[in-house]
């Protein structure tokens, strides 16, 4: 030990304040001492071990969810009653670590990785699902500016339960699923999140708090530096969420339901509003195997009038009618069929713009049209 002969004071100075009671630490191996960390060692161990436990229990919860689904006979939805049990661990960790900001997200990510590496059947997606649950809890707590009130924690857990349904809907299902069905599943998940994921861990935590099991841990107060950073992050997130909300409202207002974008190979691309053009009334019958409708009168704007206003660049062209996202269903017609033909009109039916293609099969009666694109390919 070449440094063993040095005095503790000298060592302490040379290594940036390393403890003087460890005289064998070589200054050349130590760069500098770490500042007071945000997460204490006990916080990290709590997050790690309970995330691990959460990962193990998720497998059992999966079994129970599958059993419930098979019992109810619906493959989708029954299991959502237990969605809150996945959130249980995140909230429990949050309470154990003195309600620190960032704990639930960290625990969510870690739990996701544990489940991923232990071979969860959802694969990579389990990281996304688990992380998003943690993130939602964080965001709700930030928005409510309170991490102390148990009722807010329970509501946050409810939203985390809901996020599971929303993410699966975004990833594997499309907008065709009836809204009422989705809303029902969403409400089940929210209630499950709030009770099993929120109120249940809170009650268990208070049970354990009375016992001596948690007495050994003396939480330190957060340093002013971290408190300032958390405040800044909190304000930034609120500003971002507000901006996103305003942008979404502005987008929805601009993308008016009763308008269609006329684009493509035209000299005059424009936004079509049904009220800007003269209307005609035609009689048409919707032929369909599933939802046939008897002949009735429809009032709207002829398609050829809309296209003439856009001034197509070519004499013959294709007309591609696309539904709004996320459906993106489309139908195509040849200009020779549509030109001067009043049997094709765009009509406002039940508040949605729809193509009335008289004498055509129901599958051509595209509804909720978002764009009409004039293409060079005519067929």
């Amino acid at each position: 030990m070449n440094d063993g002969s040095r005095k503790p004071k000298e060592i302490s100075d040379s290594i940036g304040g390393s403890p003087s009671h460890i005289p064998w630490i070589r200054p050349d191996l130590v760069k500098h001492k770490k500042k007071e960390p945000y997460f204490q060692t006990s916080d990290l161990v709590i997050i790690a071990l309970f995330s691990s436990l959460g990962g193990i229990f998720s497998t059992f919860i999966g079994y129970l969810a599958n059993l419930l689904n098979s019992l109810i006979g619906i493959p989708f939805g029954g299991g959502q009653i237990l969605a809150g049990l996945h959130i249980f661990w995140l909230v429990f960790i949050f309470l154990l670590t003195d309600r620190k900001v960032g704990v639930t997200f960290s625990a969510g990510v870690l739990k996701g990785f544990v489940e991923f590496f232990t071979g969860n059947a959802h694969g990579l997606l389990v990281i996304l699902l688990s992380s998003s649950q943690g993130l939602i809890i964080e965001l709700v707590l930030i928005l409510f500016l309170s991490t102390k009130r148990n009722s807010i924690v329970a509501i946050a857990a409810g939203f985390a339960g809901l996020s599971n349904v929303l993410l699966q809907q975004i990833l594997f299902f499309n907008s065709q699923i009836p809204f009422t069905f989705l809303a029902m599943i969403g409400i089940i998940s929210f209630i499950s999140g709030m009770t099993l994921g929120g109120i249940f861990p809170i009650s268990i935590f208070f049970g354990f708090k009375q016992a001596s099991l948690l007495q050994w841990r003396k939480p330190k107060s957060i340093s002013p530096r971290y408190a300032r950073n958390i405040k800044t992050i909190r304000i930034s997130i609120i500003v971002i969420i507000l901006l996103a909300e305003f942008s979404l409202i502005a987008f929805l207002v601009l993308q008016h339901k009763n308008s269609i974008q006329i684009t493509g190979e035209v000299y005059n691309p424009y936004t079509f509003y049904v009220s800007d053009f003269p209307h005609i009334t035609i009689e048409a019958e919707l032929t369909s195997e599933y939802f046939p409708q008897p002949p009735r009168n429809y009032t709207g704007v002829p398609l050829h009038v809309i296209l003439e206003h856009a001034q197509p660049k070519f004499q013959f062209y294709g007309i591609l009618l696309k539904a709004r996202a996320p459906d993106l269903y489309s139908v195509m017609f040849n200009s020779t069929v549509v030109d001067n033909n009043d049997k094709f009109i765009i009509a406002l039916v039940d508040g949605v713009l729809r193509l009335i293609a008289s004498e055509y099969h129901g599958t051509y009666w595209i509804y909720d049209i978002g764009t009409i694109e004039v293409t060079t390919i005519a067929f």
């Binding site: 130590v30 060692t41 790690a48 193990i56 019992l71 694969g123 990833l171």
Partner: protein
């Protein structure tokens, strides 16, 4: 240097060399995320299913035989059926392809299947299978502890990366503890096997409290042990095994992303 020390030193060198030859786990992880994103962007069913089948064949021949992976396939099939049912029932656009229940005498036909519904069903099932199969390949070819270590090498604070190692290291320990608790319950006549509703309910109800108590005790021991060893005192931590990020790894990742982009465009 004595013979024993020399041999062990050589063994360590061989292990280090082997690990340095393997692709960096974080790069591998980014690669599977890129492939997963590709699955969510692609609408060409042929390309999608070709890639899935290639990965499945690789997985079953190189990694695990079918019997071992059977429970995974069971879940995959059930969830896929769910996606198919929902898509076929919900999407009513496009041409009518066929009726699920044909006309029998004067009854039916029922459940029409439309072109768009069929397309969505195959597309979403493909997405799901794609993400899952690529995840299997990653898990079977990656040591999770190497993954945690390589995060530290990529300047992720080692306190956070160590949490992942800790969580993974204690997963079998906690799993074993749950088994011990369940065995103890079963010797007293409590059904806690997760093959019935009651059994799973019992498992959750009667195992939760003992395992939380035991884990809290364990947390205390580990924390005191770590703090006793001054864990987290310094910025750097000397790893047992280096997982450096090599230029070849970055090139491989770049080539993969380029390839996926080309597949998307053409």
């Amino acid at each position: 240097m004595s013979g024993a020390v020399k041999i062990s030193r050589e063994l360590i060198d061989v292990k280090l060399e082997a690990s340095s030859n393997a692709t960096n786990p974080v790069i591998k992880f980014i690669a599977i995320i890129a492939i997963a994103v590709y699955y969510f962007m692609i609408t060409d069913l042929y390309r999608m299913y070709l890639l899935i089948f290639a990965i499945l064949i690789y997985y079953n021949f190189k990694a695990l035989p079918y019997q071992v992976a059977k429970p995974k396939y069971r879940f995959l099939i059930i969830f896929s059926l769910l996606i198919v049912i929902v898509q076929l029932a919900a999407s009513r656009q496009g041409d009518l392809v066929f009726f699920l229940i044909p006309k029998i005498f004067n009854l039916g036909p029922f459940f029409p299947i439309y072109q768009k519904g069929l397309f969505y069903a195959i597309l979403f099932v493909g997405r799901f299978w794609g993400v899952i199969t690529i995840s299997w390949v990653f898990i079977d070819s990656t040591n999770p502890f190497d993954f945690a270590q390589s995060l530290t090498n990529l300047k992720v604070p080692y306190r956070l990366a160590y949490s992942l190692s800790l969580a993974l290291r204690f997963t079998p320990v906690l799993n074993n503890e749950i088994t011990v608790i369940r065995n103890a319950q079963q010797t007293r006549g409590l059904n806690s096997t997760p093959n019935s509703i009651k059994g799973t309910y019992n498992l959750l109800k009667f195992t939760l409290f003992p395992i939380i108590s035991s884990t809290l005790n364990r947390i205390k021991d580990i924390t005191l042990s770590m703090e006793g060893r001054a864990f987290g005192l310094y910025v750097d931590r000397t790893p047992l095994k280096e997982m450096p990020l090599q230029i070849l790894d970055i090139i491989q990742l770049f080539v993969l992303i380029l390839l996926l982009m080309l597949l998307l465009m053409f």
